[in-house]
């Protein structure tokens, strides 16, 4: 398993743990009653699991397993996937802190952080889609079973 794929999957596992911990805190009514600020973590919980865990796991495994582009560059330029990893995780971590803080404090300074977070995650999705699109293809000398 290439190093970059291991990085994606291990990072995804960390988000799985973080998301489940936040979710577990949100499950407990008594905690939500005593710590009203917990409700601010609801969107963070959703995105830790869907983006941090699920999407990141998919990105890593798909890059590893999908049909190769060419013999010269089987999976495409690896630096793009490192860039996707950096964009996705910096955007997500920034969101995890800035979003609840912005809702709690209303501080205008955090507006820029939210805008930056949204841009980073959007660019990550776009870069991944562009990286993978050429790899969604039928094999060159495929039998009929592989065509359909």
């Amino acid at each position: 398993m290439p190093r970059i794929v291991r990085t994606y999957i291990k990072t995804a596992l960390l988000y799985l743990l973080a998301g489940v911990v936040v979710g577990a805190l949100l499950f407990v009514d008594s905690l939500r009653e005593n710590w009203g600020w917990l409700a601010l973590l609801q969107p963070v919980y959703y995105h830790l699991l869907t983006v941090g865990w699920l999407t990141q796991l998919i990105f890593g495994v798909a890059w590893w397993m999908f049909p190769t582009r060419s013999r010269e560059c089987p999976r495409g330029p690896e630096w793009v996937m490192w860039l996707v990893w950096a964009l996705l995780n910096s955007g997500l971590v920034l969101r995890a802190f800035a979003e609840p803080m912005r809702m709690w404090t209303g501080a205008p300074a955090l507006t820029g952080a939210l805008h930056l977070s949204s841009l980073l995650q959007m660019l990550a999705g776009l870069a991944f889609a562009m990286q993978m699109w050429p790899r969604v293809k039928a094999p060159r000398h495929a039998p009929a079973s592989e065509q359909t």
Partner: protein, 140 residues
Amino acid sequence: MPLAARLFVRASLIWLVLGFTLGAALLAAKASPSAPWQAKAISVHHAWVLLGFLLQLTLGTAYWIMPRFGTRRGVTWLAVASFLLINAALIVYTSAVVLRQGATASRMQEAAATALVAGAAAYLVHMWPRVRELVVQKRA
């Protein structure tokens, strides 16, 4: 990668870009006072990302790698029908949200829901027999 898998995966990549773009717009808009469009857009964002991207990438990859019947992948048209129904549902649902309210929008939402369920059912019927023990035929 066979045709049905390519259809699902390419569609999922398109919905990924759309869903992340809408999500980025929603997150950026959180910094501002809540606008009416945000409440509706959130449900569309959920649909695009969960059903458009995550679900279809899973369906396409499963279609590709799950056990076959010799060289065939079972009833292929069911998988293609599933693809058409799920994506039609997403487009119709999005259109209904844009229309906002009224009888037409309600009917469109119902149609989208029906298509989505039909698409899931078609895929289940296609995939069920493929969830089986892999038989490796030994050469004599």
